[in-house]
Amino acid sequence: MSNSVRVESPLYHADLPGLAKLSGNPSENCGVTLREAKLLGHLNLRGNANDDAFLNGVKQALGLNLPTAPCSSAQNDKALVMWLSPDEWLIIVEGGLEAEIEAELRQTLSGHFAVSDISGAQTMLELSGEDCLNLLKKSIGYDLHLDSFPVGKVIGTAFAQSGAHIRRTGEKSFQLIVRRSFSDYIWLWLQHSSKEYGLAIVD
């Protein structure tokens, strides 16, 4: 695509980079830190987790074992894979590589499977900070205790009145996958709900 093409992530209109400059040093006085991990490649993969050929094909394409345990995830240099349902995974790769990875998957997989490029359909938000657990307690009904939601776990759940897939990346850090058309609502919700803790934006 030509160089003059402008690309806009779902939260482009919120000017997060501009807000990040205003935020200054996020560690001070802010209980919640938000970053849009924007313009990544998102692929939706469907297939039979009991089919060895399918699992091997994915491994060949991505270089990792498909996480087949419910709510699990796997990651290597090439891809982050989240289990979404017994026959559905989200593959996240570097932005721009999605077509290449999709082609690789189509080459290594056979039989019944599906791959859909959904890179425009959603965005990843990274939440962290002392109070991000409180913020999530306001937003979702899931039990956030490390016993029930350990690092690496992925859940799909109602987020306020929208939905999100949430992966825990640390004791106090999470990745949220939200749909493009709902991202403005989620952005408003996050601002409102983190007001008492202080919200810092990082670019």
Binding site: M1, S2, S4, V5, R6, V7, E8, S9, P10, Y12, H13, L39, N44, R46, D87, H112, F113, A114, V115, S116, D117, I118, S119, G120, A121, Q122, N134, K137, K138, I140, G141, Y142, D143, L144, H145, S148, A160, Q161, S162, R179, R180, S181, F182, D184, Y185, L188, W189, H192, S193, E196
Partner: protein, 1012 residues
Amino acid sequence: MKQINRIGSVGNTDASRIDRNKAFTFTFNDKSYQGFEGDTLASALLANGVDVVGRSFKYSRPRGIITADAQEPNAIFQIGSTQATTIPNPRATQTELYNGLTATSTNGWPNVDFDLMGTLGKLGGGMMPPGFYYKTFMFPQSLWMTYEKLIRKGAGLGCSPQQPDPDSYDKMHHHCDVMIVGAGPAGLSAALAAARTGARVIIADEQNEFGGSLLCSKQLIDGDSPQKWLFETITELADNDQVTLLPRSTVFGYYDHNYLGINERRTDHLGENLAEISSRQRVHKVRAKQVILATGAHERPLVYGNNDVPGCMLASSVSTYINRYAVVPGNTLALMTSNDYAYQTALDWHDAGRKVCVIADTRPHSNGERIRLAAERGIKILFGHAVIDVKGSKRVSSVNIAPLNEAGNTLTGDTSRYTCDTVASSGGWSPVIHLSSHTGSRPVWQEDIQGFVPGETTQEQNICGGLQGVYSLAKVLSDGFNTGAQAAQKAGKGQGQYDGAIPKTNDLNESPAMAIYHIPHHQPTSRAPKQFVDYQNDVTAAGIELANREGFESIEHVKRYTALGFGTDQGKLGNINGMAITANFLNKTIPETGTTIFRPMYTPTTFGALAGSDVKHLFDPARFSAMHKWHLDNGAEFEDVGQWKRPWYFPQSGESMEQTLQRECLATRNSVGILDASTLGKIDIQGKDAREFLNRVYTNPWSKLAPGKCRYGVMCKEDGMVFDDGVTACINDNRFIMTTTTGGAAGVLQWLELWHQTEWPELEVYFSTVTDHWSTMTISGPNSRKVLQKLTDTDVNNDNFRYMDWIEAEVAGVKARIFRISFTGELSFEINVQANYGMHTWEVVMAAGEEFNITPYGTETMHILRAEKGFIIVGQDTDGSVTPQDLDMNWVVGKKKEFSYLGKRSWTRFDNQRNDRKQMVGLKPKDPTFVLPEGAQIVFDKDQPIPMTMVGHVTSSYFSACLGYSFALAVVKGGLDRKGQSVYLPLADGTTIEAEICSSVFYDPKGDRQNV
């Protein structure tokens, strides 16, 4: 103003919970008073000697503060200084004092001391016997609204705020092993035991600080003041990061699966307009593995004559005011009790330096230690006596005491009068069973404690302390520790045995209490001075007996007849006494008259708290396309389609909506228009059986649709009625992309999954939503190809890119899928790009179209253009009762498909084969400028008498700038055979419009324009 009833600290230690160094000023009914931090509004009013706080509902009698807790029926105020911040009906006993607090009585119009209703009230009482709710207000029903206004004005149940709420509210979700309700001695010891196992514990209490009964107790624990044990306990809990402490948090509801609702008051105790600091209230939604109810017990008053005169109070509340708030609410006390424990009130009163004139003990005798302590202080004790009535109007002036037989139902001698200003009474204690009964558990009467306790439950519910009728502190503490350990074990933590030390305390020996509720009088109940049972609704013992005499025997019926328990207090104070009076009158036991069940909310909860943050712009999620900002910048008006905000039309300055639509339509028909169609649902269908699956869910066939081709399809439900429609394109033999209506997208995906998962799991096919992935812009009109060709190197002329084809091409430097399909009837291209490039592409298309005056249009112009072509909109022209045949769309119904398909069989039903079904037709009004109202009913004979036989209605109606006349789509019975005939539309304004039935295709019937 002087706090005449505030007592000083005793010695060097101030055991009260007020901070005398922090004085607050507040106003009540426009008068200014002083109080201290730690006061409730009630304790501050009592400290200032305010006797009358309101007027009663029916009789307009002066009323004073009776309790110190959630039971309070009288001190119910309007609190807040502005119409935005005013709060109706909080209980002064549960309202923490803050500087500047403004309160007024809710009842007592025009004011509590001089009340116009006072004299009316006496009359009104006679005119409003119990049951007036039914007798008076059900007839005539049309006047109910008038009555209601009068009653509300006179009785006052508070006023709703007249201005928007400046506060914010939110909610939080929690999970825990053990949820403890109530932080008195039982709840706190349970929390300690549970927390020491490592369990995740939440403990909530409605009061401003934890401690419950210990906050007003002097009973030593481990040889020290109870405050010390409290401090140590709360510190240990607060230091445990597995424990969440929620003070000022009322557990308002207990729901199935150990789900509890809690309202935390975060700024109510600090003042008004604190939205910048925090949400005003927060609802905590807790899912607990185990629940421990440690809600304690409420004291019951005794029912005696004129027991509502200010100065008549609950015995324990008097002790609370003395010990916790350093307020003695009077000078001379008469105490009436059926039990030993209430003697404590006389002891506290005496020790505060004021006079106890008499203790009337309804029992023949007692050997309890408190009796000895009272006697040692020289307090006069009359066994076998009761206060039968009270003299005074705005404050008690004396009491009449008479001897009582052993059963407590007959007076056995003459009355003697004692001068006093305060009457404390105690009829024993009622466990606070409200929460346990929220989940449907029927309370059980326990004779030995004369109270209901929680019955069997299906919840993981544990109870301890006063709630199960265990009242002595030593037992309460050990019960709490054991229950806490057991609940933790049931939640998977600890051994179930509490093996730590249980604090030691000495309970005084007590003699048994007497079961007595209603004090007899020399007069029969009906003639005795009024004996109030439910203060808030002015229900008297005489009223209950009248209900019984009229045949209401079940307590549920008695409640509805008398309004017993119908107030905002849900009868916390009066229900048991009311049941006892009914039982006695009917010669039954209390459990035989029924049980008393409570529902959420435990105490009234503000609507704001329940709404939480889901208000204003967060009320409902709004969905936006990637081009939304462009629409905003270009002046679009928006329309809600599902949750989407879609451009409705794009007015230019000075244009009316009508003018805008005409301009947009003509521009599209004559040159080129552009529509943001991103909101249409898009489903990526993959798998070798994808084609077969389409055959089964669509009415038309898909077997021969070649890669690179598109086809319009209609979906029906099993009943044969149209449910969704859209264009589906074949990407390759194993892959199709389906589009759905904007509002139907989620429903269609669910529908496909439902049929795949439950009926046809053998078909190899996967569905994935890609709605949000694609931004879709439709350019439509004779110049659309020229615009497109400027943006792509791919040849898009008619030979290479046919109608109903799709191609992959680069548009504006972006990889795109272009569908040559048309919803306007014009030459039309739907450009789809990955949504991150949507705005860029749109802007480039707009620039390229400038020379052709490319005109953005919204949903309204889209509706007009498609209606001119007779294209339906599912949900507007159909309503779930319309078949494809009704729509004259037999061409979309497959005749030779191998496998059957959804809806097909239902078309053979007799009803679906009638000739007189409502069928889709066009209508041309005889007056070509008149636009028929959508929804207008259609008749064949305009002269028939009313009620007319209605034969159909208008589904879509517009003025067409292209055609130069108005037109409509309509469903008319047998309409397809009536083309050329006139129908009539009688309108609401009395006029009748004539229109001619015609083909539903008004524009370019052969479809030449889209094929060029």
